[in-house]
């Protein structure tokens, strides 16, 4: 099964790096979609079918925790796995993400191995 992934980050550089790292991690990837913030991500989710969302926390317009909250409070998307990919490592942010329903938390800088393990834990 190939996995379609939505990457949400306000940095185009990080969106490109994440695509490269996911391929290096040998994750069975299908389509990769991109959004620049939480609002763009919600618009994309309205029209796309994805298997996982990778979201930054600090973003303009709608941050990653707000996006996570919207996804988990929606009947349509509440089962969609969301992994936070962020520089934010403070205990309060990690706890907030876990309480809101994130299935993983990857800190920047990251390695391909971290994503391989995260995908394995979510999809096996």
């Amino acid at each position: 099964m190939l996995l379609d992934v939505l990457i949400v980050d306000d940095s185009a550089a990080i969106r490109k790096i994440l695509q490269r790292v996911l391929r290096q991690a040998e994750v069975p990837l299908g389509q990769i979609y991109e959004a620049g913030d939480g609002l763009e991500a919600l618009k994309a989710l309205d029209t796309l079918r994805v298997d996982m969302v990778l979201a930054d926390i600090n973003m303009p317009n709608m941050d990653g925790l707000q996006l996570l909250e919207r996804i988990k409070s929606s009947d349509k998307w509440k089962h969609l796995p969301v992994v936070m990919v962020t520089t934010e490592g403070g205990e309060s942010k990690v706890m907030s993400a876990a309480k809101l329903g994130a299935v993983g938390y990857v800190r920047k800088p990251f390695s391909a191995e971290q994503f391989r393990q995260t995908f394995e834990s979510v999809f096996t």
């Binding site: 306000d10 940095s11 185009a12 550089a13 990080i14 490109k16 790096i17 490269r20 600090n58 973003m59 303009p60 520089t87 934010e88 490592g89 403070g90 309060s92 800190r107 920047k108 800088p109 990251f110 390695s111």
Partner: protein, 185 residues
């Protein structure tokens, strides 16, 4: 009262910078002797990425380098050739430098907030130009220089704790009585 340990800040900057450069960019860096400088960066030619920090402690972080090194960072981070137009400091190059600053300063913040409590971090701003100065209203910068691929990069960090009670409220409290007493009886 909690205080900012400058040695811990320098160690955190070195550790975070090494992690970002080795894990994400495959570049070697050499740390040079740290120093402090006044709250203005002086005249700068090149790229400066700034990130504000806020909360009970306020301040910010800076990553500063010349245009050539910024292009090198872009190529290494994205594993691609740098665009060759004009002097090559495109929006993509600035975005890459901003993200590197975000990762370094963010990880320094994560370390420091273990001692000082939660600190909020803003979204990076990045400036490219010649002969410009940046300035913050707080304390001196703690500066960690690094050499990398024949160039020099500076990572700067400052954090200060505003006076308890808040500066503006205190000012107002002093100003009102003085105005009252100034009027003749």
């Amino acid at each position: 009262m909690k205080t900012l340990d400058h040695g811990r800040v320098t160690d955190s900057i070195r550790s975070a910078t090494r992690d970002v450069f080795s894990l994400m960019m495959g570049l070697e860096i050499q740390a040079e002797a740290p120093y402090e400088e006044a709250n203005s960066t002086g005249n700068v030619d090149g790229v400066v990425a700034l990130i504000g920090l806020a909360g009970q402690w306020t301040g910010g972080g800076i990553l500063q380098c010349d245009a050539g090194l910024a292009r090198k960072f872009y190529s290494s981070l994205l594993a691609t050739e740098c665009p060759a137009d004009s002097d090559g400091v495109t929006e993509e190059v600035l975005d890459a430098v901003a993200e590197i600053a975000n990762m370094i300063i963010g990880n320094v913040k994560n370390e420091i907030e273990r001692d000082l409590g939660p600190i909020g971090m803003g979204i990076p701003s990045v400036v490219y130009g010649r002969n410009f100065t940046t300035r913050n209203a707080g304390s001196n910068w703690i500066v960690s220089p690094f050499s990398c691929d024949g160039g020099r990069m500076l990572v700067k960090f400052c954090l200060t704790q505003p006076a308890s009670g808040g500066g503006s409220a205190e000012l107002l409290g002093r100003e009102f009585p003085r105005t009252k007493h100034a009027a003749p009886a």
